[in-house]
């Protein structure tokens, strides 16, 4: 693949939104693992996440529309996706959208979801977990004790 094509391909993938959290792209979420040898490698967030099939279909559609019909999509499980794979830009966008991003380096401590979360609305760390699961498999429901707003928190994974 020539350099120009690779850049275009990357831009195409950057344009594919996550179906559940449309402010971040599949690249920023860390779902896209790599682009090489005529294929795009992707990895699921959760094994049962219903968005996985939609994401693959959306990537296929974006590639086809941009003229990359011959680029294959390959799904891999290993190494397992982690919230550490979310880019810094992705984290900023999640926060601006009202979702507390997961702390980085959470992988080692596994699902360290009992640690504090910063309220994406007012910045307070005086917050509490309401429910271990939220609106999607990847999020928990929290509430801020300072501004009283509820918010989603990306689970460390």
């Amino acid at each position: 693949m020539r350099g120009g094509e690779a850049a275009t391909l990357e831009a195409v993938l950057q344009s594919v939104e996550d179906p559940e959290i449309p402010v971040v792209s599949v690249v920023e979420l860390g779902i896209v693992r790599g682009l090489d040898a005529g294929q795009v490698t992707i990895t699921p967030t959760y094994t049962g996440c219903p968005a996985t099939a939609v994401i693959e279909a959306n990537i296929r559609e974006a590639l086809d529309q941009a003229g990359f019909e011959d680029i294959q999509i390959k799904t891999v499980l290993s190494p397992a996706w982690s919230t550490d794979d979310i880019t810094d830009a992705g984290r900023q966008k999640l926060k601006a959208y009202g979702i507390a991003p997961p702390p980085k380096g959470a992988k080692a401590a596994s699902l360290c979801n009992k640690s504090v979360a910063e309220c994406p609305h007012c910045g307070s760390i005086n917050t509490r977990e309401i429910s271990r699961f939220g609106s999607t498999p990847c999020k928990a429901l929290w509430q801020c004790n300072s501004c009283h707003e509820p918010f989603d928190r990306f689970k460390c994974h």
Binding site: Y46, C49, S78, S82, R132, F133, P137
Partner: protein
């Protein structure tokens, strides 16, 4: 007919996850609070995701053109290889959470070991699912503690739930010839060797939950060989009737 231990290993793992996932989905819309409803549905979703991987793998290994959906929807109870624990009815919330805790604690130890097996097809799914399963084990242990160390009523419901479910625990750790062959083939784990770590983990929760570890009962077993309780047939009837009535239906 001689069974392929590698295919059967994938099938057993997939069936456990599928049946427990289906059981949990029965709570959808009926749980005591919306937060609990979400938790149970999400646990079920994770398990059905695992089932898709393991049953898909079983179908690939078998090579007869059966995919995960075919294996899930077009087998009868005699062909299911799940353990008896996961097919037990939801009962009340205490029984559902106790079943979850007894299974997830086992599944966490199993997947921790399986993440290191030689065959990458098994190790990768185990490693991927492990993070989800740890969350299940933690969440259900929290509820066991909250209910066991809660009111007189919640404590009694936990005692009753354990009194029923405890008899299905030994089956989780039983090793048959297929399991031993699977270990030799680099896909399986010596489940019997996981028991001491399991006992340590659940005893710690019993103590915190102010629950007494039940006395061992006559073990009920046979799920791995298709000898199921009557409950599985009813579960399968609900789960399978649409694809069986409309086998050509597509989303």
């Amino acid at each position: 007919m001689r069974q392929d231990p590698i295919m059967q290993s994938a099938l057993r793992l997939g069936d456990d996850a599928l049946i427990l996932g289906q059981r949990l989905s029965e709570w959808c819309g009926h749980a005591p609070t919306i937060e609990v409803d979400l938790s149970l549905a999400n646990l079920g979703l994770d398990l059905i995701g695992q089932a898709m991987h393991f049953l898909g793998l079983a179908g690939d290994i078998e090579g007869q053109g059966r995919d995960a959906d075919t294996l899930a929807f077009f087998r009868t109870d005699l062909d299911f290889t799940n353990c008896l624990l996961v097919e037990q009815p939801n009962g009340d919330f205490a029984q559902t959470m106790t079943r979850q805790w007894l299974y997830s604690t086992y599944q966490q130890l199993l997947f921790e070991a399986m993440a290191g097996v030689e065959d990458a097809r098994f190790a990768e799914v185990a490693d991927k699912a492990l993070k989800e399963v740890r969350y299940h084990a933690e969440l259900s242990a929290d509820w066991v503690i909250r209910l066991g160390d809660g009111t007189d009523v919640s404590h009694q419901k936990m005692v009753d739930a354990l009194g029923w479910l405890w008899r299905f625990v030994p089956e989780l750790f039983q090793m048959d010839e297929l399991d031993s062959l699977a270990v030799e083939a680099g896909v399986g784990v010596d489940k019997a060797a996981l028991r001491p770590a399991y006992d340590a983990a659940i005893n710690a929760v019993f103590e915190e939950a102010k629950l007494t570890r039940p006395d061992d009962q006559r073990t009920l077993t046979g799920g791995r060989h298709g000898h199921h309780s009557e409950h599985l047939g009813h579960l399968l009837a609900t789960m399978q009737h649409i694809p069986r009535s409309h086998p050509d239906a597509r989303w």
